[in-house]
Amino acid sequence: MPMNMLPAHATRCSRRDLLTRSGLGLGWLAASGMLHTDAAGGVETSLGTLAPRAPHFPARAKAVIHIFANGGPSHLDTFDPKPKLQEYAGRAIPGALQTERRTGAAFPSPFRFSQHGESGLAVSELFPSVARHADRLLVVRSMRADVPNHEPSLLLMNCGDGRLVRPAAGAWVTYGLGTENQNLPGFVTMCPGGYPISGTANWRSAFLPGVFQGTYVDTKKKRVEDLVECIQHPLLDAASQRRQFELTSALDREHLAGRRHDPQLEARLATMELAWRMQFEAGEAFDVSREPKHVLDRYGDTPHGRQLLIARRLVERGVRYVQVWHGAGQPWDSHSDLEKNHRKLAGEADRPIGALLEDLVGLGLLDDTLVLWGGEFGRTPTVELPNDAGVKTPTGRDHNHHGFTVWMAGGGVKGGEVYGATDEFGFKAVDKPVHVHDLQATMLHLLGLDHKRLTYRHSGRDFRLTDVHGRVITDWLA
């Protein structure tokens, strides 16, 4: 493994640290010097590559939960009220912009907005449970992306580039910080029923080592052994497997004894022990049936309820980056029947998100967990006209990358605040526009990482999540 497999700032944690964290007390492990990095062309153990690393500067957030409302949720119907649309209902609005498809007259939101919390934050009736946390939300209403199409916008939001093969933010963060729990993957991505559009590209490690890639979990499945690959022996019961494992270990120890000092071999034995433990810890972490009934009820026994509850359990256990997708394909893509579709989608997502925020507060985790909610873009304030792409009636909105909303909570951001604004119709971010790269730069900043210093050398140049862009928005910091 070349030297650059770890970020330049990586500092080794002490061996005792590591043993404490991994919960291992094996004498031979401690004596093995397994933290040795074989600097060039050699071997890096996961205990090195995924070991927790100090950030560039003190972090405000330790973990991220990114709730991805894929397909493009309408900011105009959720967190960015535009009464002006009522005034123009059925009429063309001045300064309409080009998006993916043809749109027509102003389309006022069919949903009621009201003010919440001491901050008086405006949230529509779609998100009553989220609205209860209004004073913890930082609502950024001036997001912008580059193009009105799903694929490039998803990749931009996740990987910082709409076209090229680049690592996902979760991979960058895990590369930069390692992860706190060696018995679980550092970057987990959950999506019920299949992949979102652009598939695994959304959580790939690209040129970063494969260990930083997001581990995909299909949360439509319920049984733990279906959720996590190779987590259980398909045929053996636990007692038999224990005996089998002891035999392997005995043979391995014998093998090691005949070979003087080899950190790689020692690391291999250590990781076998970890794998053994992982079977139980990962199984436990993903098994929401272990939660008391009243907790399960608050989240709801739906894919969304289960995956947000899993998200909480993972962050509790030290997983660094958790991404939660609404569903396969692009569920929030309401080109028509927006009222019905958005009501259904928000109905699925609202309660468990509220429960998640409540639990994170209750467990004292919200302070150092950044929760991010949003899509790849927003939607037009104008109605999408019927077309032969399946839109029969003018009842939905087209994609809108000119202006949209995301919100954050916890992790060192201000609460009860609105940042930036779209124009009076909600078409374009006009006040304090925030590009996706700026969001990424600021997210890394919250995690204690300087987006300009978190680089990886590949093909002769130093790459980073924000490429040559991005600026940290200090106004967001609490």
């Binding site: 890096e44 260990v211 045929l235 038999s240 005996r243 070979r259 093909s459 002769g460």
Partner: protein, 939 residues
């Protein structure tokens, strides 16, 4: 607010007049100096330099010195000293155009005034950054960098043969004898001696044969082979073994896999839009070509040339060699983004084959290396002059028999379905265009409002097509009032609305109707009978004329076909390529989304049929020269911002020769890469082969031989091997493998001498062998070998699912890989990222690998097979001890030691009476062995 500077500035400006800034910059007056320091510099620092400074220079612009300021951005000058109006910087800060700076928040009026004043007085600067003279231009700086690199960078000097360093005196006599033969050993021993390190000594026979088999073939030796070699580990026996392995098909398969990492091989295009097939049906023909080339030990220069230009070499190659071009074409297609596809090919060829990071120069001159954007776009032109044809050439016979017949029949039907759909869409597009001809004519004269920038949609739901509007507009723009057909339209359509009826009547009355006035007879007749009262009616009259000669209603003029008036009208509106009769090839562009979806669906059925149904002939994934173009530089990599056009040529650092103008230049490029005087190619190749054998290269950055790459640890050895690879070995890879595996350096034990751990902790001096985990492929193949299920006859052809536990018979090389969805298990074992040329895989040790060994269905299935095999081998009479021995020999290619056998027996006794169905104690024991480090690691 008071402005202390204002008065003196007015004075300054008055004094200077339009003297310009240069004189002033050389010696700014005291006032100007104070003004700059107090007002301008703080503003530049606070508002500009974050993005236009030493760290980031957006658009290539820096605003931290006067020289940089005057040099401007990628798009040219931004400030003309003394001239506000022509300074783009001033327009930008006023948000006058699209280019609005700073992008987020406009400067205050005061700040804008300050910068305007500053530019108007000549943009004076003070301090060390004030110098504007002496700053070399970009081109000069790059030329100098290239000259310097060519003169002094190690990798650009021709490799030469070095005298062999003598073996160190203190080498023990036995080692001296052994290390005397191979030149490799002389260089390594001399360096070890210089570092005060003793070599580790030879590995024992069993370790050596196992390492050799895996290194050359990716498979373990059988227990019998290992026994035989252990019994007679002589030099002669070793050399025979090496030769036998190098000649085996398994060797070609194993090294083909290494090469496929470099070729970023996979079986899909990457992301596919809904309705598009992601599969490359014939990527495997490239994979099989690589295997065959290595089997024949095709010289490396030829190997490379065919992969870049098999279609262009003379004399022409047999058709199956066209499959070599898959090297260029099996990459990701980036959702059809041409420039990204070209970039991928440029990176593959330059970094992959020569260790040059040319792709960095896509957006700006390389920051460190002697490569400019001009070099990049000179190569861009080469690949922009090539395309993958729609129909790939057949390079072999389809398999005989009913299967092939069924394949061809179904294929013909699918192709016909596609053509029928295309024809139907074409008919609809033309029919609707013709029936809306009047609307188009009307639109050209009185365009409807376009609030969203698109052509209008009519009341009947029809959307006008921009392509047709454009073509019609151009036609009408050219027409003069005396045009026989369009003349009346040109004259009448310009009339104001209220004057139309009267004026139109006048003009029409002037036409005699016999063609003598020059007006086409049909047009004259139609207009007189219609006697249009408005532009709309005029358009409708023309619409009827057009309908008579175009589309389905053309038959209405039966019998008049010979009339010259009809012929003329038809030539204008009735032939393909005229405004309403679009070309067949344009039909799908004008199709409705549902029609496009259907088109893709039918096309996908063809690809799917070719990819999945056996019986079709193999095809080569070729690239062909098409329209030859030279590419302009894309400023900042943006195709919308064009710089100078670059003639297709080689990179300057490689001589910069212009390619044969009659071709794309792929052949010239290939020949330059393998030219005798190319210093990079043999070095990169030798180092790449060395890296696979040793786990570490002589150059630790095998894909970067540039100024920022690692210098070689043993420069003379690298030189010597590269030189001899070409001179002695005649580019033979097999020669090179022999040089390496016959060296004593390679045959060392992995057990270090105790004191070398301090002196050579990371083994960069090759003081011992490097212990390694098996690659994913070698590990899975070893499961097959242990299970005894490896089918050595099933070579080549379309790939199969690597994770299918039910059919573990084919080598992993022959598995199918979706680059968009590389299975997690493969990732866990560090398979190469199929999106970029990989010279060496990362090697991680992670718990997920342990989970695979413990629980994956693949291992479980293999364990059952290993157990079954051991039962077969010992027969019904065999004792448990015999069966244990058989298990050990199947898995480890050695018999168990007595304690091991005893341990296994005790363990089996312990399992008696336990359940677990058909996964009883023996399969469990087999799996326990398959999960050990011994099985998975090489000493």
């Amino acid at each position: 607010m008071t402005r202390p500077w204002a008065n003196s500035l007015i004075l300054l400006v008055a004094l200077l007049g339009c003297a310009g800034g240069h004189a002033l910059a050389a010696a700014p007056s005291l006032d100007a100096e104070r003004f700059f320091e107090a007002k301008v510099r703080p503003l530049l620092v606070a508002k500009c330099q974050d993005c236009h400074g030493p760290d980031v220079s957006e658009a290539g612009l820096r605003l931290d010195s006067r020289g940089a300021l005057l040099q401007g951005s990628d798009a040219g000058a931004v400030v003309v000293p003394g001239e506000i109006a022509s300074s783009r910087l001033i327009r930008a800060i006023n948000h006058a155009d699209d280019m609005a700076m700073p992008p987020d928040e406009k400067l205050s009026d005061d700040d804008i005034a300050t910068l305007e004043q500053w530019v108007s007085i000549g943009a004076p600067w003070t301090g060390p950054e004030a110098e504007s003279a002496g700053l070399p231009s970009r081109a000069e700086a790059m030329a100098e960098r290239i000259t310097t690199a060519q003169a002094s960078h190690w990798a650009l000097q021709p490799p030469v043969r070095h005298p062999l360093p003598p073996l160190p005196d203190d080498l023990p006599a036995k080692l001296r004898r052994e290390w005397a033969t191979s030149p490799v050993d002389h260089f390594i021993a001399a360096r070890l001696h210089a570092e005060g390190i003793a070599p580790a000594g030879p590995a024992d026979a069993r370790v050596l044969i196992r390492r050799l088999c895996y290194d050359l073939t990716g498979l373990p030796p059988t227990a019998e082979e290992a026994d035989a070699f252990a019994a007679n580990p002589s030099e002669v026996a070793y050399r025979e073994l090496v030769d036998r392995l190098l000649a085996s098909p398994e060797h070609a398969e194993h090294w083909a896999r290494h090469w496929l990492d470099l070729a970023r091989y996979a079986d899909t295009i990457g992301y596919a839009f809904g309705g598009q097939s992601a599969k490359y049906p014939y990527a495997w023909t490239y994979r099989d070509w690589v295997v065959q080339a290595l089997r024949e030990d095709l010289p490396y220069d030829r190997f490379v040339t065919l992969q870049l230009a098999a279609d262009q070499v003379q004399p022409a190659v047999p058709r199956d060699d066209l499959a070599a071009l898959g090297f260029l074409t099996v990459g990701r297609t980036f959702r059809g983004s041409r420039n990204d596809i070209i970039d991928d090919r440029i990176d593959l060829v330059t970094r992959g084959l020569m260790g040059l990071t040319v792709a960095c120069a896509r957006c700006h001159d390389h920051k460190y290396e002697p490569i400019g954007t001009d070099d990049y776009y000179a190569l861009h032109g080469i690949f922009a002059s090539c395309e993958v044809p729609d129909e790939l050439p057949v390079i072999g016979e389809p398999p005989q028999g009913a299967e092939a017949e069924a394949f061809a029949k179904k294929l013909a039907r699918l192709q016909q379905n596609l053509q029928e759909h295309e024809a139907a869409v074409y008919d609809r597009v033309v029919r609707e265009a013709v029936s809306h001809a009047a609307d188009y004519l009307f639109e050209v004269v009185q365009p409807a409002a376009r609030p969203d920038g698109r052509p209008p949609k009519l009341a009947d739901g029809y959307e006008l097509e921009q392509l047709i509007i454009g073509r019609l507009t151009r036609l009408l723009r050219k027409a003069k009032p005396d045009h026989p057909i369009l003349g009346p339209w040109v004259s009448l359509s310009r009339l104001p609305e209220d004057a139309f009826p009267a004026k139109a009547g006048e003009l029409l009355a002037a036409d005699t109707g016999d063609g003598s006035t020059g007006v086409n007879q049909l047009v004259g007749q139609e207009l007189r009978s219609a006697s249009p009262k408005s532009l709309r009616e005029l358009a409708e009259a023309y619409g009827r004329l057009i309908a008579r000669v175009a589309g389905e209603t053309a038959g209405a003029v039966d019998g008049e076909d010979e009339a010259p008036a009809v012929v003329a009208l038809r030539r204008l509106f009735g032939e393909p390529g005229t405004p309403f009769i679009v070309l067949r090839s344009e039909a799908m562009r004008l199709a409705k989304r549902s029609e496009q979806d259907e088109y893709r669906r039918r096309k996908r059925l063809i690809t799917k049929h070719q990819a999945e149904v056996p019986g079709g002939p193999p095809r080569a994934m070729v690239l062909e020269d098409t329209k030859l173009v030279d590419s302009p530089v894309f400023l900042r990599g943006n195709p919308g911002r064009r710089g100078d056009v670059q003639t297709r040529r080689l990179p300057t650092v490689l001589g910069g020769t212009v390619v044969d103008r009659s071709k794309s230049g792929r052949l010239d490029l290939a020949q330059a890469i393998v030219a005798a005087d190319n210093p990079l190619t043999p070095r990169v190749l030798v180092n790449w082969v060395w890296t696979q054998h040793f786990g570490r290269g002589l150059v630790a950055t095998p894909g970067d031989f540039g100024l920022r790459g690692e210098p070689p640890s043993h420069p003379a050895l690298l030189d010597d091997l590269a030189f001899r690879f070409v001179e002695e070995g005649q580019w033979s890879l097999r020669w090179l493998h022999r040089e390496i595996v016959l060296s004593q350096t390679w045959r060392q034990t992995s057990q270090p001498q105790p004191e070398t751990l301090d002196r050579d902790p990371d083994n960069r001096f090759f003081s011992r062998s490097r212990r390694r985990r098996l690659s994913w492929e070698a590990w899975r193949d070893s499961l097959l070998a242990a299970a005894g299920t490896l089918d050595r006859t099933a070579r080549g052809g379309p790939g199969s699912d690597p994770l299918d536990a039910k059919h573990i018979t084919r080598r992993t090389l022959y598995s199918w890989l979706d680059r968009q969805d590389v299975p997690g298990m493969l990732r866990t074992f560090d398979v190469a990222n199929p999106d970029t040329a990989v010279h060496v895989r990362p090697q991680t040790t992670v718990p997920q690998q342990g989970l695979v060994a413990l629980n994956s269905p693949l291992v479980v299935e293999a364990a059952k097979q290993v157990a079954a095999r051991s039962a077969r081998e010992v027969g019904e009479q065999g004792s448990p001890a015999d069966r244990i021995t058989a298990l050990w020999r199947a898995v480890f290619a050695r018999s168990p030691t007595d304690p091991e056998r005893a341990m296994a027996q005790a363990w089996l006794t312990q399992q008696e009476g336990e359940g677990n169905g058909d996964f009883g104690p023996w399969p469990q024991l087999a799996q326990a062995l398959l999960a050990t480090a011994e099985f998975q690691y090489l000493d």
